[in-house]
């Protein structure tokens, strides 16, 4: 990888867009999966683009993530493609792609990963509100890139997952767009694979000086937030009564699972006939316990999902965003995941070469588990 500088002449988003456009123009990729503003102007959605004229409404700085791109990458690569696709992603999406590749739910061969520093994202309705108000939503955040303190718009907050996200710079990628530590009105830095740098005519340059300190400061602050949220979660769920209270408003709609990048099972156990019970069974349970909450198995659903996938939870918070009851599911999954992942010294998304803990084992381990 080499570092290089993009001159922005006062318009950083335009400079990034021109760079991405060149990937398509030069035939380095056959398609781009990039965020495009929808016609109504109040949302920005990942879009697979093959015709450069369609790049008109590109907005890579839009602080919104309606779905995780990892799911889209799975869809567009799973059964194999000949075309090369450049995909713009935040780090939680990149880490989820790494997990999905290892879980054989996506193929990375024809991907050109374009990672962006992430300033945090809003819930979709908040983002839409801001866009309707005419605010320069992405630009306003970018103004804080140099100081490293991206502030959300007054009366709005970043998603909880983002407030506690300590891995927000691209950890993988052939092209990595750095926003922190620069004055983006003048220039931004990129890190780029050697061969790609040559093809794009990018000259080597020193990395942004302030970047390291700026990133470290945000990481510190986000880690503090994370630890505070984990501690209060642990306090609240010390016993089962606490856990029940934490999940009391769950309607078991499965949205958290449907939107999770790691929950890929086409035949999720909760959608198989195992949970289609004989009608008489409900009477039996009510008789045995005196009463039974319906739908049944709320705790079982969450505990099972944890068992199946928490080793690979990347902390994207898509579960939170999808929950109609606004339950803090990502805190639950991240906090529990922290300890489970530590059992195997596993960091989801860290490396393509480390098999996910549930897909492997060692003979000489866990001898005390009995």
């Amino acid at each position: 990888m080499v570092h290089s500088v993009l001159k922005t002449d006062g318009n950083p988003s335009e400079a990034i867009h021109l760079l991405l456009r060149r990937l398509l123009d030069e035939g380095i990729v056959d398609a781009l999966l990039v965020p495009l503003r929808v016609a109504s102007g109040d949302n920005t959605v990942q879009t697979l683009v093959r015709d450069t004229r369609r790049l008109e409404g590109m907005d890579v700085l839009a602080p919104v993530m309606p779905v995780t791109t990892a799911r889209l990458v799975s869809a567009i690569t799973m059964t194999g493609i000949k075309e090369r696709v450049g995909v713009v992603m935040r780090d939680c999406e990149i880490r989820a792609v790494v997990e999905l590749v290892k879980l054989q739910q996506a193929k990375a061969d024809n991907l050109l990963i374009i990672g962006m520093d992430c300033m945090g994202t809003y819930e979709v309705p908040d983002y839409a509100d801001l866009m309707r108000s005419g605010a320069d939503v992405g630009g306003a955040l970018l103004a804080h890139a140099a100081s490293g303190q991206p502030q959300p718009h007054e009366d709005k907050a970043f998603r909880t997952a983002c407030q506690m996200c300590e891995k927000f710079t691209p950890s993988h990628g052939d092209l990595r767009i750095h926003l922190f530590g620069d004055d983006p009105k003048q220039h931004i830095h990129v890190e780029v694979a050697d061969d790609l740098a040559a093809k794009l005519g990018l000259e080597p340059a020193a990395p942004a000086q302030a970047r390291e300190n700026v990133v470290a400061a945000i990481t510190r602050q986000r880690t503090e937030t994370r630890d505070r949220l984990f501690a209060s979660f642990r306090e609240r769920t010390k016993d089962i009564v606490g856990l029940q209270a934490y999940l009391s408003t769950c309607i078991r709609c499965h949205n958290c699972m449907v939107n999770c990048p790691i929950c890929y099972c086409k035949e999720c156990i909760f959608r198989t006939p195992i949970f289609d019970h004989e009608s008489e069974k409900y009477q039996m349970w009510a008789a045995r316990k005196g009463a039974v909450r319906l739908p049944t198995d709320t705790l079982l659903f969450h505990i099972t999902r944890l068992n199946h996938m928490v080793t690979s939870c990347v902390g994207c918070g898509m579960c939170d965003s999808a929950c109609p009851s606004h339950l803090p599911i990502a805190i639950l999954f991240r906090a529990v995941g922290q300890e489970v992942q530590a059992l195997f010294d596993y960091v989801p998304g860290r490396s393509l070469d480390e098999p996910p803990p549930v897909a492997t084992f060692r003979e000489d381990e866990l001898e005390g588990v009995q």
Binding site: R234, T237, K238, D239, I240, V241, G242, L243, Q244, I269, K289, G290, A291, V292, R293, D297, T298, L299, L300, I303, T304, L306, N307, H308, V310, T311, A335, V336, E339, V340, L343, F344, P357, V358, F361, R362, E363, E365, L366, V369, Q370
Partner: protein
């Protein structure tokens, strides 16, 4: 004081090739062990999804025993190593969420170890009696 002593209920998931046969051997050899256990036969400990263990606990079982072949002896080579990982994950999750993870036991018991099987059940019943009933017994709103 207590009118009837608490009798724990244990759900046992036993591998067909080892522990299940070991349990059988205990029976045919007339080795005594307490009757607190309900056995579910599996083809391998590696075939056990944690959902069933969790379900048993949430429905009020006082303990869950998982029995598999000794490391290196799995009929399918590696099922028991995978089971061990799953149990490690399950126990960590249960513990973190306020359950008593020591109600779940994983034991390697071969087809010829009828005595070990009987001793394990006896020991588990005693341990669960000391703990008392699963607090989730009768919980209607889980």
């Amino acid at each position: 004081m207590a009118d009837t002593e608490f009798e724990p209920r244990i759900i046992a998931f036993l591998c067909n090739w080892c522990t299940y046969t070991g349990a059988d051997l205990a029976g045919t050899s007339r080795i005594q062990y307490p009757p607190n256990i309900r056995v579910i036969r599996l083809m391998c400990s590696g075939a056990l999804d944690p959902v069933y263990v969790s379900k048993a606990l949430l429905e009020g079982a006082d303990g869950v025993l998982i029995g598999g072949c000794h490391p290196g002896d799995c009929h399918y080579q590696t099922g028991n190593y995978k089971a061990r990982r799953r149990v490690a994950i399950l126990k960590s999750i249960l513990k973190q969420l306020g359950f008593d993870e020591d109600r779940v036991w994983l034991r390697w018991i071969s087809a010829s170890e009828g005595r070990l099987f009987a001793d394990t059940v006896t020991e588990m019943v005693a341990a669960l009696k000391a703990k008392g009933p699963n607090p989730l017994k009768g919980a209607w709103d889980i």
